[in-house]
């Protein structure tokens, strides 16, 4: 019960943030908070497979990029008024581009997962990384969509008459998607499907011994995670009004992993904390020194060494199995 109250208070504070920022005269905070919310969605999606399922996917940023490019490419064809592949008309409607991004991310993850999940351990880490690099280089070489330089999206998507160029509106949209996704994940990880995932993390052998062939469950989780990460990418494209292969660079996959591990593997709110910590640290440290990554490194090592459940250890009650 007290948890509910704390959560409600947190949510209220998050909703009120743009007004608070205005009152304090720090409007830039809204942009930072939007980045945190979007990365939190991406990290939480990775957490489904990494934290709950124990699947160390090192190519998760590929789906972030694919989601972003879905929005970008549909915009580009809308702008040029010439259908994609000669059949799919371009659009700048979020109600179309957002589901399209989710679909693209889900299908790509299903295809990549179908092959990668035949391996395990280090091999799985390497093959997911390799697939992500393939997607990365594909977009680097796609000159029509800007190649290395990426693609500008001059106008954010239209969405129910709202103006996504307004930072507060973009923030609230991102926050709404984050809250919805966390609520959905909270249900899924407690369901029968979620129990199987947690079993997979703990012992594949035990799962076989109770008669569960784990492959289809891992594949489903992988596809769901890819779809949700692409949703984050679609939001990013609207927020930054720009997409580029950097969105799916392997260092971005690494950042997502750091957020999950830093925040707390297999915890519902851990990835949000991790995203906030990483984006926040980057924001403050990069203001102090350009070598901020050298400072960040030791901080990460310390957290991973001393807190098994990352930052979520500070909130013991919300650890796994308790929430």
């Amino acid at each position: 019960m007290r948890e509910r109250i704390v959560l409600a208070a947190l949510l209220a504070a998050a909703v009120a943030l743009p007004w608070i920022a205005e009152a304090l005269g720090t409007p830039a905070t809204v942009g930072v908070a939007t980045r945190i919310a979007i990365y939190a969605i991406a990290a939480a999606s990775l957490n489904l497979i990494l934290g709950y399922g124990g699947l160390v996917s090192f190519g998760h940023a590929a789906y972030f990029g694919l989601g972003g490019y879905t929005v970008g490419i549909l915009w580009e064809h809308f702008r040029l008024n010439e259908p994609f592949l000669g059949i799919i008309p371009g659009t700048a409607e979020l109600l179309v581009t957002f589901p399209a991004a989710i679909l693209v991310g889900g299908l790509a993850a299903a295809a990549i997962g179908a092959l990668s999940l035949r391996t395990s351990g280090v091999q799985f880490i390497m093959i997911t990384l390799a697939f992500a690099q393939m997607v990365y280089f594909l977009f680097v070489s796609l000159a029509v969509y800007g190649g290395d330089d990426g693609l500008m999206i001059r106008r954010p998507n239209a969405f129910l008459g709202l103006n996504l160029r307004d930072p507060a509106t973009m923030y609230w949209l991102s926050l709404a998607v984050l809250v919805f996704w966390l609520w959905l994940m909270g249900r899924v990880v407690r369901s029968r499907f979620g129990r199987v995932l947690e079993g997979v993390r703990q012992s594949e052998r035990r799962m076989a011994a109770i008669g569960i062939s784990t492959y289809p469950y891992k594949l489903a989780a992988f596809a769901i995670a890819g779809a949700a990460c692409a949703a984050a990418g679609a939001l990013w494209a609207n927020y930054a009004r720009f997409v580029s292969p950097d969105m799916m660079h392997w260092t971005k996959s690494g950042e997502l992993m750091i957020m999950v591990i830093l925040g707390g593997l297999g915890t519902l709110l851990g990835p949000v904390l991790g995203a906030a910590a990483l984006v926040g640290l980057e924001y403050t440290l990069s203001g102090i020194t350009e070598h901020w990554q050298f400072v960040l490194g030791p901080i990460l090592v310390a957290i991973v060494l001393f807190a098994r459940k990352g930052l979520m250890s500070l909130f013991g009650r919300w650890g796994p199995g308790n929430g």
């Binding site: 407690r190 369901s191 703990q202 011994a209 784990t214 469950y217």
Partner: protein, 252 residues
């Protein structure tokens, strides 16, 4: 005579130059408790591994419940009613005893592509899981303890409860008494005695008191070969068996 529940024919398994299973032929008949004994390294666990599908044999065949299952995976065999326990327990250590059994009950109920209802609050799963824990004698108040915090004896009991969850047609038990104290060992013997007759069992065990108290038939494995198979009294009297195994046991 009724067809055996399990029929292992001419099974061979080599690890490099070592023949771990050497032309093994073995049957478990309906209702029977068949004990498989033999010295350390005789190939008992390797035989169980091949029967359950974790280890691929080099040659030979396995029939179970009227069908050839040699090509099926471990999980597929379990779904057909072949259940096993491990010499070294394999549990979901972060989960409680109840959750471990509940998940096994869930697996037996069909696919788990159910994303919505909270599985931990599903009475269909937990009620049956509690009944299974009671059946193996794990006290009610231990059900909510994490598997990693249970005693060794309790973990052995828990494994048996999990193996019983699918309502198996055959139980493969790899040393259920290993590491148990005398009292725990007796309790486990009683649990198995209660199951005997209802579920056919292939029991691998070093505890000779338990074996001779429970077994309907005994097979003796030495260097991967079955050197004798028969009624417990006959096995006890067999000179070759005494030489290879029982005397050595006495020496301990």
């Amino acid at each position: 005579m009724a067809e055996p529940v399990l029929a292992v024919r001419n099974l061979v398994k080599r690890f490099g130059g070592l023949v771990a299973t050497d032309d093994l032929t073995l049957e478990v008949r309906p209702g029977e408790l068949h004990a498989l004994i033999g010295p350390n390294g005789a190939g008992k666990t390797t035989a169980i591994g091949q029967i359950c599908g974790e280890i691929a044999p080099d040659s030979g065949s396995i029939r179970f419940d009227g069908a050839d299952i040699t090509g099926l995976s471990f999980a597929q065999r379990v779904r057909r009613g072949l259940s096993r326990t491990f010499q070294i327990v394999q549990l979901l250590d972060d989960d409680t005893a109840l959750e471990n059994v509940s998940l096994a009950v869930q697996a037996a109920e069909g696919h788990s592509f159910r994303f919505w209802r909270n599985a931990r609050l599903d009475r269909r799963l937990t009620d049956r899981a509690r009944a299974l824990l009671a059946q193996v004698g794990l006290p009610e108040e231990r059900a909510r303890v994490r598997a990693s915090d249970l005693s060794h004896g309790e973990r052995k009991q828990l494994e048996l409860a999990i193996a019983l969850a699918p309502g198996p047609k055959l139980l493969l038990l790899d040393e259920p008494m290993a590491g148990l104290g005398a009292a725990e060992s007796l309790r486990m013997t009683e649990v198995l005695r209660a199951l005997k007759g209802r579920i056919p069992m292939l029991l691998v065990e070093h505890d000779m008191d338990a074996v001779f108290a429970l077994a309907d038939r005994v097979s003796v494995l030495v260097y991967g070969r079955c050197i004798a198979s028969g009624l417990p009294e006959a096995i006890r009297a067999d000179p070759a068996v005494r030489e290879a195994y029982l005397t050595e046991e006495d020496g301990h």
